[in-house]
């Protein structure tokens, strides 16, 4: 039986490389109409619309057309399908203009008169809507007993997912009472359920199909539900097929992005060891809460990252501002906190005059330690081996010594981190109830029916591989096409690094059942449902217990050189070591590693999105800077096996792990290069100049 990690060709390569793959914008439908959105130009205002008379065949759809509820179903139900009398951010959708000629649509848009009564917007942290807290041990005592208390404050900025395929969707009347949607999405059932809620339709009257998706990174997790509801409402009234593809600037100013954060960490030190953290994290939810509550949770749960701190007092809040709502982006709150934690660890070591590697290792979490929320690290933790490997690969210790020289502008930074795999806390058991289905027909072809989506991470290949390996038959075909909610059960969303571990795990169990009960040339159907592992005990209200069934671990080392004349950062090399349990396909995993670290490092030094007075300043690819082929450096990545009993072949989550450690690693490398502490990212040349030239 061959090793599953061994790579196989990615199944969708032929159509993607040749341009034959069909993304939503590529679909041609007879009698197609187009939709374009009219958006608010004020951050906070009451409004009403003076609609012009429309030429034949052109329509306006707005809040008045909603047959049931003006709500986009997300975790918190405060997003509206269309703004209704009040707008809360620049770019908020007010209405759609629908017709068959895009030029006429543009003319109509320019003729629509919106009368605004601007109100006083909020841009500061004043409007707090969610607060959470949890504790571990006895933090008060730890602070009372401390030798020293050291506090630092950190700040992280927006990050835009910048998927190369913009958001887009098609909706059409499949029958008189059924609407079908095709969209660039991560979660077919999120979209379906949102449309059901907004329209009040029956379950069988909405269908969602997933085509090829050109990148998502969380940006297409909850946001497409809004587009879906808008188009579904339009189709409900007009009974024509309608396509809406966002322009890049439109996408950048109005769709969700990573929550900016302020994080304060107070450390209690006793005998040169951290005995407590008092941490507060504030995240900017933008105009609506959406899923900010869960982002806050994940950020708070990451408060000790890969370390064990015996006593914790962790608080957090979501505050709203009249700016573009923030949402899911690979890492989902963890990158912000992991940045703060690793900078803090390094800064503490410096202040205490302890070698930082020694200091890190002395706090590293071990098997059977309590997690931040007093759950348990049940599984073996191989971080010490991983750290040793990373140090060897990168020559970290030697380079550190050399680069600390006052005249050196080179630096090398290391980060330790973990990522909880799967939905936070009781999400899988209480909200998702994931199901997968395997169907075998009389020809003995096996069909995989799951609702998770291939958005580039390769799950069309990896999930198929898992089933093929379990079935272990040369003579049959396993077929896995994209998700269609008419056929697939709700396996949950393609988020939270859960696809391989949870959905793949369910498929492995289903395949085993199929194999064991195999009846040749007979139609068979196996459905497998998620069962929460017995050991997981989670209290959502108190944020206590096992937040995740498993954890993946990582070490990143980033080497940089800073130009003392221009303050520009030059990435020289990146080394990474990851524990994701078991690699289902090495080449695909390495691809995820390369892509993730590029995004994570860029979050630390390159990608900057300013929002001033509610206006997104960096709103196209000219101004929002993502790495080009010349901005990345050679990478070397190793995966170390550490099988997780409940994952398919031992696999845990991967998707987000490779992003979350990049920012602190590059920020620490820059710190070493410029000999100045960093508390804020992105660490741009402008910021580096200020740090070097202005003594604080």
């Amino acid at each position: 039986m061959k090793d599953i990690s061994k790579s196989i060709p990615k199944v969708d390569n032929p159509e993607k490389l040749s341009g034959r793959a069909r993304y939503v914008s590529d679909y041609e439908i007879p009698g197609l109409y187009y939709a374009k959105t009219l958006r608010s130009i004020y951050p906070y205002a009451n409004f009403h619309v003076n609609k012009p008379s429309l030429p034949e065949g052109y329509y306006i759809i707005d809040a008045s057309h909603l047959p049931y509820k003006n709500v986009v179903k997300m975790i918190e139900e405060d997003w509206k399908v269309f703004a209704d009398q009040e707008v809360n951010y620049i770019g908020e959708p007010i209405l759609l203009v629908i017709g068959q000629d895009q030029e006429v649509i543009q003319n109509i848009l320019s003729q629509i008169e919106v009368i605004y009564e601007p109100k006083q917007p909020t841009f500061d942290q004043g409007h707090v809507v969610i607060t959470k807290s949890y504790q571990k041990g006895d933090p008060k005592r730890a602070f009372d007993d401390a030798d020293q208390i050291i506090e630092e404050r950190f700040e992280t900025g927006y990050q835009e997912q910048a998927y190369i395929e913009p958001q887009g969707m098609i909706a059409y009347p499949e029958t008189d009472d059924k609407i079908t949607l095709i969209g660039s999405i991560q979660c077919p059932y999120y979209v379906k359920n949102a449309v059901l809620e907004a329209l009040g339709y029956d379950d069988k009257n909405v269908r969602v199909i997933q085509p090829a998706v050109g990148g998502a990174f969380g940006g297409k997790e909850e946001f497409p539900s809004m587009i879906a509801c808008q188009l579904a409402v339009a189709v409900h009234h007009l009974h024509v097929p309608i396509k809406m593809i966002y322009e890049r600037e439109e996408d950048m100013i109005s769709t969700t992005k990573r929550h900016p954060s302020y994080i304060t960490i107070q450390a209690a030190i006793k005998n040169n060891h951290i005995t407590a953290f008092k941490t507060h994290v504030s995240i900017n939810g933008g105009a609506y809460i959406g899923l900010s509550s869960v982002v806050l949770s994940r950020a708070m749960l990451a408060a000790t990252s890969a370390y064990t701190i015996t006593n914790l007092d962790v608080t957090g809040d979501v505050y709203l501002t009249h700016t573009v709502p923030t949402g899911a982006f690979r890492g989902f709150g963890a990158p912000q906190m992991i940045f703060a934690v690793d900078m803090m660890i390094e800064h503490l070591a410096k202040r205490l005059k302890i070698d930082s590697l020694t200091f890190r290792m002395s706090h590293l979490a071990k098997q059977n330690d309590l997690t931040s929320t007093s759950g348990l690290f049940r599984d073996p933790i191989i971080m010490p081996k991983m750290v040793e490997k990373a140090i060897k690969m990168s020559d970290y210790i030697e380079k550190s010594k050399r680069y600390h020289h006052p005249l050196s502008y080179q630096g090398i930074g290391m980060s330790f981190f973990l990522h909880g795999c799967g939905f936070t806390g009781s999400g899988e058991a209480e909200h998702i109830h994931a199901k997968v289905k395997l169907i075998k027909d009389e020809k003995d072809d096996v069909y995989i029916e799951v609702a998770t989506v291939d958005m580039g991470q390769g799950q069309l290949t990896t999930l198929k591989k898992i089933v093929e390996h379990v079935l272990d038959r040369q003579d049959i075909h396993v077929i896995y096409e994209g998700a269609d909610t008419d056929d697939v059960p709700d396996s949950g969303p393609t988020v939270a690094s859960r696809t391989t571990m949870i959905v793949g795990g369910l498929l492995a169990r289903a395949a085993l059942k199929l194999k064991q009960s195999w009846k040749s040339h007979e139609k068979m159907e196996i459905i497998e449902s998620y069962v929460q592992p017995e050991y997981m005990k989670w209290n959502e209200e108190k944020l206590q217990g096992d937040a995740y069934p498993a954890y993946s671990w990582g070490v990143n080392v980033v080497e940089v050189e800073v130009n003392p004349i221009t303050y520009e950062v030059n990435l020289k090399h990146i080394w990474s070591v990851y524990d994701i349990g078991k690699v289902i396909d090495v080449r695909l995993a390495l691809g995820q590693a390369d892509g993730g670290i590029a995004q994570g490092v860029a979050f630390g030094y390159l990608e900057k999105m300013d929002v001033r007075e509610g206006k997104v300043i960096h709103k196209n690819f000219t101004d929002y800077i993502i790495p080009t082929s010349k901005d990345v450096c050679p990478t070397e990545t190793i995966f170390m096996d550490n099988p997780y009993a409940l994952g398919p072949y031992g696999a845990k989550g991967l998707g987000e792990l490779t992003l979350v450690g990049g920012a602190p690693a590059v920020a620490l490398a820059i710190e070493m290069a410029i000999k100045k502490p960093i508390h804020k990212i992105p660490a741009t040349p402008e910021m580096i100049m200020e740090l070097i030239e202005h003594e604080d």
Partner: protein, 282 residues
């Protein structure tokens, strides 16, 4: 409703545009973005359009005893691969945009766009380039410093086409091009610099410095350069502060979405100091 004309010869083009109602479109890489409307709709041109991209006679690179002559329709990428184009200019062009844009964009178009951050302009100002403008009635040659009069403002008349760029042949002992952008490729400059210097008997006999993106147009101050010429290389450090103080009031960058004025100013001065320090070494 605009007219679209696609002439095949220069004569045809000049005849078409003589009523002054036409916009000239060569590569289109700036104009198509500046006039763009929504996806799937044509750009919104306010004037008639004369597409000159097919005038083969304007696609050339030739040298004579004094200068390099670049036809207006020579693409930037053609210039990068030409043996006749000086290496320094090739370095500048290689830092502009990306191959897919450089295969369309022309040097002439870049000049007519007259962006304060235009990279080729910094080079052209430093070497005293000129441009040839033709209408059906006349042909005139204008030094680049007189051609561009402000951000995105040139003195080209509505019935004129830029037909050629003339770059004097030079040999500079010290040549420096620095582009400071937000990333390593495909970026608009925050600050850029061309430095040229030649020495004879350890004395500076020629010195030229031009910055991009720190002023309304390219910044070049021949009167300050004259003060440096004649200095012995070993005495340069003595006048360094004087040079910085002379240039300082002219370096007037702005805050914008790309960068800050304090950063741009600091880096502009750093680049000056670095260039001066390199003269006379090695």
């Amino acid at each position: 409703m605009v007219n679209h004309m696609i002439p095949s010869t220069l004569e045809e083009a000049l005849s078409i545009i003589q009523d002054g109602t036409y916009m000239i479109l060569a590569g289109g890489t700036d104009l198509m973005v500046q006039h763009r409307s929504a996806a799937q709709t044509p750009p919104r041109f306010k004037k008639n359009v004369c597409y000159i991209n097919h005038i083969k006679e304007l696609n050339y690179i030739v040298t004579d005893e004094t200068s390099l002559h670049i036809g207006a329709l020579t693409t930037l990428e053609t210039m990068v691969h030409s043996n006749l184009v000086p290496k320094l200019l090739k370095d500048v062009i290689s830092d502009i945009a990306s191959p897919g844009i450089r295969n369309l964009a022309t040097l002439a178009g870049n000049i007519c766009n007259a962006s304060p951050a235009g990279d080729t302009l910094v080079y052209l100002y430093a070497v005293d380039a000129s441009v040839c403008l033709q209408s059906i009635h006349q042909k005139r040659i204008i030094p680049i410093q007189e051609f561009i009069i402000g951000p995105r403002k040139t003195i080209i008349k509505p019935d004129e086409i830029m037909t050629e760029i003339i770059i004097p042949n030079r040999h500079d002992e010290y040549q420096k091009w620095v582009k400071v952008g937000p990333r390593k490729a495909d970026a608009i400059s925050k600050v850029s610099l061309i430095g040229l210097a030649t020495c004879q008997d350890d004395t500076i006999v020629d010195f030229r410095m031009a910055w991009g993106a720190v002023y309304q147009t390219v910044l070049r101050k021949p009167d300050i350069e004259k003060q440096i010429i004649g200095t012995k290389t070993r005495d340069l450090y003595k006048i360094q502060d004087h040079i910085i103080n002379a240039y300082d009031p002219w370096i007037q960058p702005i805050d914008d979405q790309r960068s800050t004025k304090v950063y741009r100013k600091k880096v502009a001065i750093n680049l000056l100091i670095d260039f001066i320090a390199s003269i006379g070494k090695e």
